[in-house]
Amino acid sequence: MQKLTKEIQDTAKKLLEENKVDLVVGFAKGSLPLRSTPYFARTAEQAEELVWNQFCENNLANYLKKREEKVAVVAKGCDIRAIVALIKENQINRDNLYIIGVTCQGMIDRNKADELVNGKEILETETNGEEIVLKGKDLEQKAKVEELLYDTCTRCAYGNPVIYDELIGEEQPAKEPNFEDIEKFEALSAEERAQYLAKEMEKCIRCYACRNACPMCYCDTCFVDESTPQWISKRANSAKDNLIFQGVRVFHQLGRCADCGACERACPMGINLSLLTRKGVKDVKETYGYEAGLNPDDKPVLSDFETDDPQPFLMKE
């Protein structure tokens, strides 16, 4: 990790010093343990603050949209998939973007760490390769990094960036996307599924953190905020409307969602949001063999039509 941090800093410094970019978007050390924070470095000195560790969970694609200046970004696999999808949608100008791709083994889920130490306060961490030590007052708990990773990260098949201008870190072994969670959900009866979703949606407080964390949600006016017509109630008291909110979000994400898990990480109520987004990801992959953000040159799958497209929704008996 130290080595990666050094390499990122050096690259950033060089880019800024040579005026190749005006800004480097990356991560700096967070003010709390188990956290890194998005950081904008505009000078070589500021670039010294950049870090890389297993808490760099935010999707930095969010900060790159509609920028006029030349920007470099420190980006992991999922960030880059979102970047690719955003380039296709005219939200990021590839010509003004320098991608410092970082290979990624997954980010650590704070909630899992908290659970492991039974809610004791973690003040410091120390990583040694595949092991992490969580330290605090009367606390020193060792754990395997792998066991603390976000669920989204454990299922991720894109530890290696799909495009980049410079690559940092060792290549990760290839993996196949894993949809066991969705398959399990699909195996439930319609009633069970409805019940589960209703329960999850009752938790929603409509804070819209999911939407704001999502790199692909960038509309100026979200449909939930519309008043002519008012599609759904603006209050959180109807689980049905909450489900419409999430349901339409999934529709809007079809063929675009990079499956980065930012929505779920942002949710303060712990709603299983990736269940919905990933169902969309899985269906698009199964139906059209398409995954978002892998190829800058193809057409977004739902904007394209071929006469031999599978149309299983028309064929169902």
């Binding site: 017509p229 599609w231 759904i232 419409i244 339409v248």
Partner: protein, 65 residues
């Protein structure tokens, strides 16, 4: 009273709506539960229309085009 679902149909003006007309010309009888919304093309159907119909009390949606 037996359960009577309400169905909303979004029908393309050029094909399905014409088909529904033809059903009338042929006096084909079907249940009265259907409410047809005529649209210029099935491409006009925003997913939100479907949610809205359900929200407004529809039990099922037919889209055809």
């Amino acid at each position: 009273m037996a359960y009577e679902p309400k169905i909303v149909a979004f029908l393309c003006n050029w094909c399905s709506y014409a088909g529904a007309d033809l059903a009338g010309i042929g006096r084909l009888q079907y249940p009265t539960n259907l409410r047809v919304v005529r649209i210029p093309c099935s491409g006009r159907i925003n997913p939100l229309f479907i949610f809205s119909a359900l929200r407004n009390g529809a039990d099922g949606i037919l889209t055809s085009g």
